[in-house]
């Protein structure tokens, strides 16, 4: 187990390092001349060069990468060029807001998705199965801003039940905050539902066709007992892993949903940083997303290993 964990963390660190290379390449190498980008086309060549020197972008690329990377390791995420303030407090506040939205979506979609997948599997090949599978997958392919527009038109403009904006005023009660977050959560829920239901369905079908399920049925257990005690326990394991891998997607979805509903989360922060060419903010935000994703998949891997005796006691650990 310890060896497995060490290997797993090692691989995650390698992946993180490659992500940092991608981010550095896109953020620092591609934009050309940052001094020129900040000062504009009319600025004198000498002042552009002075600013480049001040920003440190006229040094060799490897030196720049090294400074940037060691800064990150020391918790120095750089200075935002749009606010002229350290990036870190902005990231932290935005991450908390995004977590609220993500947690709400997860709390609703995980039970729903598992329920949908299991129901589909139990009526395998019949109408219910086809309806759940096809609608689930269809919803999963509709971009968040599209389903977002549809729910806004129905619930906010048509029925006037819920607010259009996700941002409750400062000091709003938790209930009011929740009310503002329901509409933005729906697009995320629709997309995640398809993936989670598909995994739960596949896992349940596999468990239903297994030898142990047949044995349980043959020894005279009731169908409900077989399903509850033998099928579901084994079926839901792979689903946990999928739920964790969806966190990465979820954050991508947040960019769109937070922009549409004007919610001050990490996605909105990255989007605004991109609009103002605030590369330190953009890079730190994207890197943070990579870290969150890797941590989530790591936890999922460890969790499914702990829950699965075959992996836990196997020779791998």
């Amino acid at each position: 187990m310890a060896t497995y964990l060490a290997k797993r963390i090692g691989l995650a660190l390698v992946t993180l390092w490659i992500i940092s290379l991608i981010v550095f390449f896109a953020g620092q190498v591609l934009p050309g001349d940052p001094g020129r980008a900040i000062l504009g086309n009319l600025a004198a060549e000498s002042s552009v060069r002075a600013l480049d020197h001040q920003l440190g972008v006229d040094r060799p690329l490897l030196t720049q990468y090294w400074t940037w990377l060691t800064g990150l390791l020391h918790g120095n995420f750089g200075m935002s060029t749009q606010f002229r303030l350290p990036v870190e407090p902005f990231l932290r506040a935005a991450l908390v807001n995004s977590l609220k939205l993500a947690v709400l979506a997860f709390v609703i979609v995980v039970p729903l998705g598992i329920l949908g997948g299991v129901l589909a599997a139990l009526s395998y090949g019949h109408m219910t199965d086809r309806v759940i599978s096809v609608t689930g997958l269809s919803f999963a392919t509709v971009p968040e801003f599209v389903s977002g527009i549809v729910v806004i038109v129905i619930f906010a403009v048509g029925l006037k039940l819920l607010p259009v904006s996700a941002a409750a005023g400062p000091g709003a009660s938790p209930l009011s905050q929740l009310q503002h977050l329901i509409l933005p959560a729906i697009p995320l829920i629709l997309i995640l539902f398809g993936y989670i239901a598909r995994m739960a369905r596949a896992g349940t079908i596999e468990a239903l066709n297994s030898d142990y399920a047949r044995t349980a049925t043959l020894k005279g257990l009731k169908r409900s007992v077989v399903i509850r005690r033998h099928v579901l326990r084994n079926a839901l394991l792979p689903t946990i892993t999928v739920i964790a891998t969806q966190t990465g997607y979820l954050i991508g979805g947040l960019v769109v949903v937070e922009t549409l509903f004007n919610y001050q989360g990490i996605g909105n922060l990255i989007y605004k940083a991109a609009g103002t060419k605030d590369f330190p903010m953009l890079e730190a935000g994207v890197l943070l997303i990579g870290v969150v994703y890797l941590v989530a998949t790591l936890i999922a891997d460890v969790l499914s290993t702990l829950l699965n005796p075959r992996l836990r006691l196997g020779n791998s650990g």
Partner: protein, 294 residues
Amino acid sequence: MTDITGPPATGVVVAQPGRSGELTPWRLLLRRPTFLAGAAILLFWVVCAIFGGAIAPHDPLAQQLLATNIRPSAAHWFGTDQLGRDVFSRVIAGARDILVISLLATTIGTVLGTAIGLVMGYLGGVADILIGRLVEAVLALPLVIVAFLFVVALGASPLVITVVVGFVFTPIIARTVRSAVLVEAQLDYLSSARLLGEKSPYIMFTEILPNVVPTILVEFTVRLGYAIFTVAVLSFLGFGVQQPTPDWGGDIAANYVTLGAGYWWQTLFPALAIASLVIAINLVTDSVEQVLAS
């Protein structure tokens, strides 16, 4: 799945082996209502993309400043937008760019991804490990974010979106092709080819490639769905086709601020257009996968 393996059909095949050609994949596809529905919607949008402005009732670019924000009516089926442009005409004309960009991007990704996947799977070694790690890193970031990062750095234009989405898809497609190649690599015909002294490029492109074509086709349709998704999102975020060119994502971005004022038709109809297109592609993909699997 069950509807295609019913007793009568199998009976015919068994009794008259000569007519077994009846159950070609194509015929199986045509029996699926989900495929027919998806293909019909897709065909509709392709027609709109080809003829665009010619079949639209109004000029999608013509502004009527005395007829702004008009509700859907007989004259303007989907109403007019803030500049008095006919929303119905813009929805029809908007099919072109998203379809062209998504198709081109998916083609770039499929061609490059297939070549890299063949090399990874057949030659293995250092290239395999390096590209494998790269794929892992790209997959750790949401697709939209990766595309977003490069589009921001390179500037917003339809060309940039096409290339960036194509490049982002390349490693993902390469991974799928690689696993298909690994399966093929264990089969006898490859050892025979090697014993005959064929060169690696010949084996990869002439012997293996035709055998992994079904996998590549399925991957292409799946990726096309994702491409439309990604392109629509990037357009909505303002990185795609620029106004005033009609574009579903861009039109939603330009008009969604008026939702609060109750002008729902300006955003709802382009949104439904995107939804119908991605769902249609999904229905087609799902049917193709099911038929190939059966």
